[in-house]
């Protein structure tokens, strides 16, 4: 068996990214949109770790993936607070109903 190169990992990262983008654009549930963002960030993280392993990027990739994890946690907290506020005001989580700002 030969060793696994970077390409399978990059392909998994691409799958995560595309699934996240599709999830963000098609879900009507606000929490579903949040999950799409998490998927995209994980795809980026997987690419960072892959390049830190297989290229001279070195430890910098792992440091940046740690920052991405922390920022994703912060983003999830704030976005969830906004979603709960939206739910309190509108009694639904459907993002199509949040159309009060249109001109």
């Amino acid at each position: 068996m030969q060793a696994i190169g970077p390409n399978p990992f990059l392909f998994i990262g691409a799958v995560l990214f595309v699934c996240g983008v599709i999830c963000m654009t098609t879900k009507r549930n606000g929490i579903g949109v949040l999950m799409g963002v998490e998927l995209v960030l994980n795809g980026a993280n997987l690419n960072f770790i892959t390049f830190s392993r297989f290229t001279p990027l070195g430890l910098d990739g792992q440091v940046f993936s740690l920052f991405v994890i922390v920022l994703a946690a912060a983003e999830a907290a704030v976005a969830l607070a906004i979603a709960l506020n939206f739910y309190n005001n509108h009694l639904t989580i459907d993002v199509d109903r949040g159309d009060e700002l249109h001109g």
């Binding site: 799958v15 929490i31 070195g58």
Partner: protein, 237 residues
């Protein structure tokens, strides 16, 4: 990689991709949350297989243990009764699936068409241009297999110390100071010392400032989330 690692890789690669697709396809929010747990946990195992042990453990602790619990709480607080499943039409699903397949083809073919592990001369020059003179110290990848002990180096890099890059730097022998033992005779011409700062290699940059910025950012996020999610008291007017 041993054969067990290869089997583990394909198993968790399939789990990751299947979980991600299941998050996309499923209409039920609770099932989406479970698929997301599966996906992120499998990604943590992939991190461990890539030799990033600390990042993999952090992914399990912070992402699966913290962020996803937060999302599951959000699901529980908002998915009451009819809001558990908000369906989109079948035509939308087919269209988005088609666009997703095309998009995946574009991204994957672009990414995999680059030969990342090329170590011939051209690539070596390119990596030396991109990463400076430190490319020699990490030649052949940063983490050789079965090393994976990155915790101490990560912690030191957050303190702006980079032993992983600076430890192998070779100081040119011309710049090494020769102890000047000869007595200085007044009136004799002063010997010119070689410029030490010009030829000595620079130390790599660390991550102390981003670390502090992230800590302040987390504090701001904490205050902001508590402010946004507080229960509003209706004032009687």
């Amino acid at each position: 990689m041993s054969s067990a690692e290869i089997i583990l890789f394909w198993l968790f690669a399939a789990l990751t991709c299947g979980g991600a697709i299941s998050v996309c396809v499923s209409q039920n929010v609770v099932r989406m949350a479970f698929s997301l747990v599966l996906t992120l946990g499998s990604t943590a195992v992939l991190f461990l297989l890539l030799g990033a042990d600390f990042v993999g453990a952090t992914q399990l602790l912070v992402y699966v243990g913290g962020t996803l619990v937060l999302i599951v709480f959000g699901v529980m607080l908002t998915a009451t009764g009819p809001f558990t499943r908000i369906k989109s039409s079948a035509a939308d699903g087919i269209l988005s699936g088609l666009i997703g397949v095309i998009f995946l083809f574009i991204v994957a073919s672009t990414v995999t068409s680059v030969r990342w592990m090329d170590t011939d001369k051209e690539q070596g020059v390119a990596s030396k241009v991109a990463f400076g003179t430190h490319a020699k110290a990490v030649e052949g990848g940063f983490n050789p297999a079965q090393q994976g002990n990155t915790t101490r180096q990560l912690g030191l890099s957050f303190l702006s110390l980079r032993p992983d890059r600076d430890l192998n730097l070779s100081i040119p022998s011309a710049s090494r100071k020769v102890p000047n033992t000869a007595p200085v005779v007044p009136g004799s011409p002063v010997m010119e010392m070689p410029e030490a700062s010009a030829s000595e290699p620079k130390l790599s940059a660390g991550y102390l400032l981003p670390f502090e910025i992230v800590s302040v950012h987390l504090l701001v996020v904490l205050v902001g989330a508590a402010y946004l999610a507080r229960t509003k008291r209706r004032t009687k007017s």
